[in-house]
Subunit: 580 residues, 2 copies
């Protein structure tokens, strides 16, 4: 029999109809002589009833054989339920079974198929097809599809052209580690999987495509954590002849459409703009979570007046105030915060509690002369906890930024229903890499420097500013973009500033430099992290929840056991040997 | 200044307006004291006029400096043209320039940017961004985008869920050669790039997704030719609980929508169905081009009566008739056809011409007794050329099928505006591989055998039939699909029939077999080759014309020089050595 519709979509308008459903047995109960079966399919669950007095012997026998996760085909009549179940969308009706066939049987599953899951991450991934049967997971993927659909409709309507760029590309040393693919034909040569189609999309602008987009897989061979996977998906776009404001406007429209169509939320446009410096100084982060306050305050000039060397000799002293948290944090709790602070390079964490208009805590004795000024500047009220970091500015910012987020979580200060988008603008072009002992690109080497600061490419690299913009949502970097360099001389200066010899620049980026000889238009664009965006919309904190078949922290798929050993013949064909 | 619109989109309704355009100089001509500039952008070309008597000195000087492919920004007033140019969509208007800025200069390009191109394939790929500037190429990619858009809208409306499957997957030995990706974390282990997401999409059916689709990159490390590339794009879909007819119906609806929305063609549904055996016997191909006749005729019983050993001792003798082609093919031409025939395994090619009701040619002397019957059976008319192959059935079919296509092209028998879709059904499950000396899957090892023939898995594998269907367009395999195996025992029997030991089956496909323990639903699907489909819609004969950055026949990108050498550090991190 053909299915007439989804089990989860049957409604009371269908009462009296004969319908055929196909799906999985979520539960079977034998109750008062009747057999009740919860039938699950993509759209939900519907109750089936087998009544021994009405059903055939065969149907009854089949019903009695059913166990969880059997696949069945069932035909029957839609009836009104005596007792409606308001928890189910199908709760007004049930199906009186007249025909029943088992399409496939099932062993006992390693975990029960329900949202409230008790299974390790690796078990979930090993039996991903069972994990994905859980309604919560399916709904994440419906959401993901709807996000993609909204994005595509928006960009299609604006005449963007969806162009597929290669996955087998050239390895470049800038940026993260590449995944390599050995060539069988060119001995000793390798393709690389793209970390992003950055240069290729720029070349599409050079080709006059004018507006390009792609929802595209990108790859980075880096160590993994909650919001990182070896392969991830990017909403990638590029335009010619637009300025940064126009690109930001476009992006805001895109996000507004996604929010409306998937969450029915009207976001306010334009999004707030915050400079990179303000973000670092006030939030201690280049991706500030603005759903709560607790801003960083520079108290250097005040505390310098106190007789406390740690403060008076530090380059800067900054503070955050955990409102009304004095009672919540014991000394032991604060010790934990101190340990946490040290992960961000701080040498220690100073603190006071402000209770009954009095400061208390180990350093309170140093503060009497400045107590009023401090309380005033920090707008303290009763039972506030104040945390200080005295250090280099970047350490103080990073440490207090991290503490700010941690305390907000611990104190439950965050409204989980809020979606706070903002732009972080006015980025530095370079950041100092302690590891490499040199300046590296804060974004990438193709970012346009501001006209005012470009001369510093041959001067103080710390002073070069980029025409770059990141979009931030709830403390996550949702994406970033920039205007790009389209003149060969400027691109060559940029690569030189990054330490490339002319030869190395040509070897790696010669094709881009050459392309700039032939009328490369002004252009710019943006990329959004799709996995992260969907994760946040789904209210999750790990992108695995919105990736159908993710890898674990060892970049392994516990289901297929990829990566795996390959045959000697395969290695021989690639002219490869394993070993140092 | 902001651009007000595309140059190629200006129309006579805008006469009198001041507009700003940005684009490329396609051509500059100085004529009668005026400077005419053809400005090109994504939407087409518009004529600009700089009148020395009206333009400022600066504008004039800039205009005089312009060369082909300079990028310019221009503002001016839209005027009616004195002499309209009917070849251009903007031919009714021209722009009188008041402001002109050069945004970027250009060297002389290695080839002229025009549709009628003279450049080698490698030059085109080396300067792909220039090749893509040609209106013809851009229009191929707009077409590609529109095809994708139509497909997505169709499947979205039918509640298919777009799910991204992994690119870093497990290597499997069945099928073509895998591209491998060495793992940095698991020494000596490799991912493989997917040849198709076949098993993964089946697991999505096991997960209850019910209807899946994806427009997805697939990879095969095979030798290349016109319609093959190392990476290609597949429209991949899978459904649960549908039978083959329903899946074919769905697919026809999809194709009808694409044809309507991109070519404004109403295709007739349903598409014709042809069995595999009929396709081979009548067209000599499993992907018959039905835009022309010239069917294969089995003349064995007739020619056996002739006193000609080559015919009477052959397993089968088949013929095709090239209508009215007797004059067109000299002996020398037919020698060429004979050489061609030998590529398909034929030992030779016999032929006769039928002129004035007489047979002529080397074997005509053997035919007198059967001349009338032969002429009758082959429905010969004056000046027909008849080609015979006497051989094993499969050789005769393949050879005559190839000759049929070649002659149709040479004789210009094909209506290029016709799009003939058909289904080839009733496939054999296995095909004999001379190379491997065993039966291999005609489609893949997950294809469902027909109920009637499944018992031959332990008998004569040549007799097992598959519930499989290929969709064919104009002699190309556009795609193929099947119902799949969803029961573990049957899947195990299939793998055994293919020569897998139980251990090898488990090693390679254990995760799929295990998944079949947990209520795997009946399912089936299909995959369409997107590149090939767009190529045919664009009227091209090489998929490179519809792939933005293709590889050449050595799987190399002449632009980026990928694949390339990588650093020792990269190899060390992967624990790899180059060399036997």
């Amino acid at each position: 029999m053909k299915r007439t519709g989804y089990a989860g979509a049957v409604r009371s308008e269908q009462i009296g109809q004969t319908i055929t459903l196909k799906g999985w047995v979520a539960r079977r109960r034998d109750l008062g002589g009747l057999i009740f079966i919860d039938l699950r399919d993509r759209e939900g669950i519907m109750q089936l009833v087998v009544n021994p007095e009405l059903a055939s012997k065969e149907v009854l026998a089949t019903a009695e054989s059913l166990r969880s996760e059997f696949v069945i085909e069932v035909t029957g009549t839609v009836l009104a339920r005596a007792q409606a179940n308001d928890k189910l969308a199908t709760g007004q009706v049930e199906l009186e079974v007249t025909d029943l066939t088992v399409l496939n049987v099932a062993k006992t599953t390693p975990f029960e198929i329900k949202d409230d899951l008790e299974a390790s991450d690796d078990t979930r991934m090993r039996y991903r097809y069972l994990d994905l049967r859980r309604p919560e997971m399916l709904s994440n993927f419906k959401l993901r599809h709807n996000v993609i659909k909204a994005i595509r409709h928006y960009l299609d309507d604006l005449d963007f052209i969806d162009v597929e760029t290669p996955i087998l590309t050239k390895s470049t040393p800038e940026g993260a580690r590449d995944y390599l693919v050995p060539s069988r034909i060119s001995e000793g040569h390798f393709y690389a999987l793209p970390q992003s189609p950055q240069i290729i999309k720029q070349l599409l602008m050079n080709a006059g495509f004018d507006r390009y987009y792609q929802i595209v897989k990108c790859f980075r061979d880096e160590d993994l954590r909650g919001d990182r996977q070896p392969e991830f998906t990017q909403v990638d776009l590029e335009t010619s002849f637009l300025d940064e404001q126009e690109i930001q406007d476009l992006t805001e429209g895109l996000i507004a459409k996604v929010m409306k169509e998937t969450k029915n939320i009207d976001v306010t446009l334009p999004f707030p703009r915050m400079t990179y410096d303000d973000a670092m100084n006030q939030y201690g982060s280049d991706k500030p979570d603005t759903r709560f306050e607790m801003l960083l305050t520079d108290v250097s000039t005040i505390v310098k007046k106190a007789d406390f060397k740690v403060f008076s000799e530090a380059p800067v002293v900054k503070a955050i105030v955990a409102k009304n948290a004095a009672d919540a944090y014991s000394r032991k709790d604060i010790d934990k915060l101190t340990d946490y602070a040290k992960q961000f390079g701080a040498k220690g964490l100073a603190w006071v509690k402000f209770v009954g208009h009095e400061f208390s805590g180990p350093i309170a004795k140093f503060l009497p002369e400045i107590a009023d000024e401090l309380a005033d500047t920090l707008a303290l009220t009763d039972k506030d906890l104040v945390l200080f970091v005295a250090d280099e500015l970047d350490v103080a910012n990073a440490t207090l930024g991290a503490l700010r987020s941690r305390i907000a979580k611990e104190q439950d200060l965050i409204d989980q229903n809020q979606f706070n988008f903002l732009w972080v603008i006015d980025w530095p072009m370079f950041e100092w890499s302690e590891e490499e002992g040199r300046y590296t690109s804060a974004h990438h080497p193709f970012t346009l420097p501001t006209t005012e600061s470009a001369h510093e490419l041959e001067g103080d690299l710390a002073k070069v500013r980029a025409v770059a913009y990141d979009i931030v949502l709830n403390g996550y970097e949702l994406g970033g973009g920039s205007l790009r360099i389209n003149h060969k001389d400027l691109q060559e200066r940029m690569l030189k500033a990054l330490g490339f010899t002319a030869e190395a620049a040509n070897d790696q980026f010669g094709f881009l430099l050459e392309a700039m000889d032939y009328g490369f238009p002004p252009h710019g664009g943006l990329a959004l992290g799709l996995d992260r965006f969907v994760m946040l919309l789904a209210g999750k904190d790990n992108i695995r929840e919105v990736i159908a078949f993710p890898k674990n922290n060892k970049a392994t798929d516990p289901m297929t056991q990829a990566p795996s050993l390959v045959s000697d013949q395969q290695l021989t064909e690639l002219n490869l040997k394993i070993g140092k």
